[in-house]
Amino acid sequence: MGYSFTAPAKNWATEPIERTEILWITIAGSWCLFMFVWMIAWHWIGNQNMANEAYKTTTDTYAKKVEDFTAKYTVRQDKSDPSLPVVAPPPGSDVYLAASRWQWRPVLELQKGKSYRVHISSLDWDHGFSLQPENINFTAYPGYESVITMTPNKSGTFAIVCNEYCGIGHHTMLGRIYVKE
């Protein structure tokens, strides 16, 4: 009687709890409470938080926004891939990035220490926005436009790798962001 595979004592709920368990539950429970409070607190004390700002849209509407944005702020064609425009929006402005099979468009040129409202959406399937080597990762949906305010704190060349499987060309899907001093 009383094994895990046999019936427990009749009134098992009144049996005393051993010290090891009580102490462990106290320690583990306190830590659980701390983690819960800390995750909420990071929205105020931390600088890296999910904005969760998003709007319903259509792929056509969003494609048009990206097109207009690109036409307005294109400064040159990219050296690595001359078919891609490099777009340098003014600090504080709205920036539009589109994921599609299998490309992130356009290439961006941002300034270090300046904030941008970066819009992300997909024109076909789900895609992944994975900024490297920062390793910041978001999901891009078709039909939903998300807005994240980003402030680069380092300069250099950053890659956008697609990390949501999106068909046979998934591993060729890339984008780029240049951050100037």
Partner: protein
Amino acid sequence: MAITTAQSPFRTDPLTGLRIDLTAATLVKVNAVLAVVFLLVGGTAGLLVALTRWPAVHLLPADLFYMALTVHGIVALMVWIIFFEIAVLYFVPTALLSCRLAAPKMAWTQVALMTIGAAITAVAILQGDSSVMMTSYVPMNAAPHFYLGLILFAVGALIGCGVFWGTLVIAKEEKTYEGSLPLTVYGCMVATVIAVFTIASGAIILIPTFLWSLGLIKSIDPMMYRVIWWAFGHSSQQINVTAHITIWYTVAGLAFGAKPMSEKVSRTAFLLYILFLQFGSVHHLLSDPGLSSAWKIFNTSYMMYLAVLASLIHGLTVPGSIEVAQRRNGLNNGLFEWLRKCPWGNPVFSSTILSIIIFGFIGGITGVVMSVEQVNMIIHNTIYVPGHFHGTVAGGTTLAFMGLTYYLIPVLFQRQVIMKPLAALQPWLFGGGMSVFALAIMGAGTLGVPRRHWDITFAGQALGYEWPGLTQMFMAVGEIGGVIAVVGGALFCLIVVGSILMGEPVPADAKNIVAPPADAGGHKEIGAGGFEAPGTFVLAMVLFVTLVLYYFVNFKYLATLWTLT
């Protein structure tokens, strides 16, 4: 030996003294054998994936790689595990409550539906136009029979849950047991509740998706799909957690005569699972737009981490109960004599203890940290994620199932396990390989390497990106670990099938393999400092300190990133 009654033939197992219902036993065997066959299929696909992601080998072309990965995900994560779980659900109540199985015909329907469903989905994937991964996010589309097979499989699993529930009802009505259910049966009951929620969620999303693939529904909202699909996809892993923890408790009792330290604590922890564990489905949506932080934080923390607390409790009480039993049997010296003198060469024990360690230290710690809303941004969809869940599902669940299988072969098939030295080695190969795999690819994931990706060298890409220097090393070491794990898995399949077909019959005078009851010497003073399980407590504190340090390391790194608001 077999005594037949009009209602239900059964035999009394000489090894355990358990009353084995023969109808149930046949169904358990069929489900378990199918499970092992699918483990072989899933493991083979896993080997192909590992050999492709190992940079120096890069075996498959892209289309076959994505196909193999889809097979691996569905077969290893769902088909093998659910077949085995159904076997457990049929065995546990009939054997431990000494009752018959409710509705054997329905159980055969379950076997047929799950087998046919799995086969149909497998065919769809192998035909080549359904390499959509296990998650099959719309609007990416698979062939209609890809979804149909999954739906049939799920319906079969739901019938299996119904048979289990019916068996509990029958046992109560026919008074084959008194009072509360044994903890093992209780854990299976909890797993079944989670399974019903899981399968219902799967039906809600997969049936419309099937109709959409046939052109009968115009579109499926991609975000709605993910919210509901993960109530299915993640919860199915919560069934596994509950099932393998139940097996931990069971093996502790069977192998050591251990008694749960406190029925109240363990059962309350299971109640916390019932209430909060399914909230973990949100872990896959933390870096998705549009969903509020209130919803994310409430769910990702399982309502203030109460389900995490439950797991931490199980993680302490199972080894703690083993320690208490060992100490009561005389191994009471120092902190760890009880642990040193455990039967490390017995695969039933070593599988279980490795499952506890890997699930806690690799699967558990990383799971808690990566499911922090903000930390998820530096982990979402990197290869860290498969690293984590190979710690939980392969190192935790699959290894626990392997241990139970070694125990059940003599009981169910009345055969001895063959190749005992290899069987003793097997859990170490599988658990060791899987640990190396999980830790190394989590290292790569920390550096940003994406999951489900055929070519991280970006060969020939104008915008290609070069990963930090350690990346290739992490990927190579990890995939070598993966190959070792596959060897361990294949060895398991070989030993199981070999034992069933060629194992020596269990001798008639075989000793009872249930350990002698602990506590034979009365209420001897055990433990140290007023604690009955001081060694386990020290080990638990090692886990605790690791978790706390790793938690803050991740926040420290997070704080160096671009500002994101």
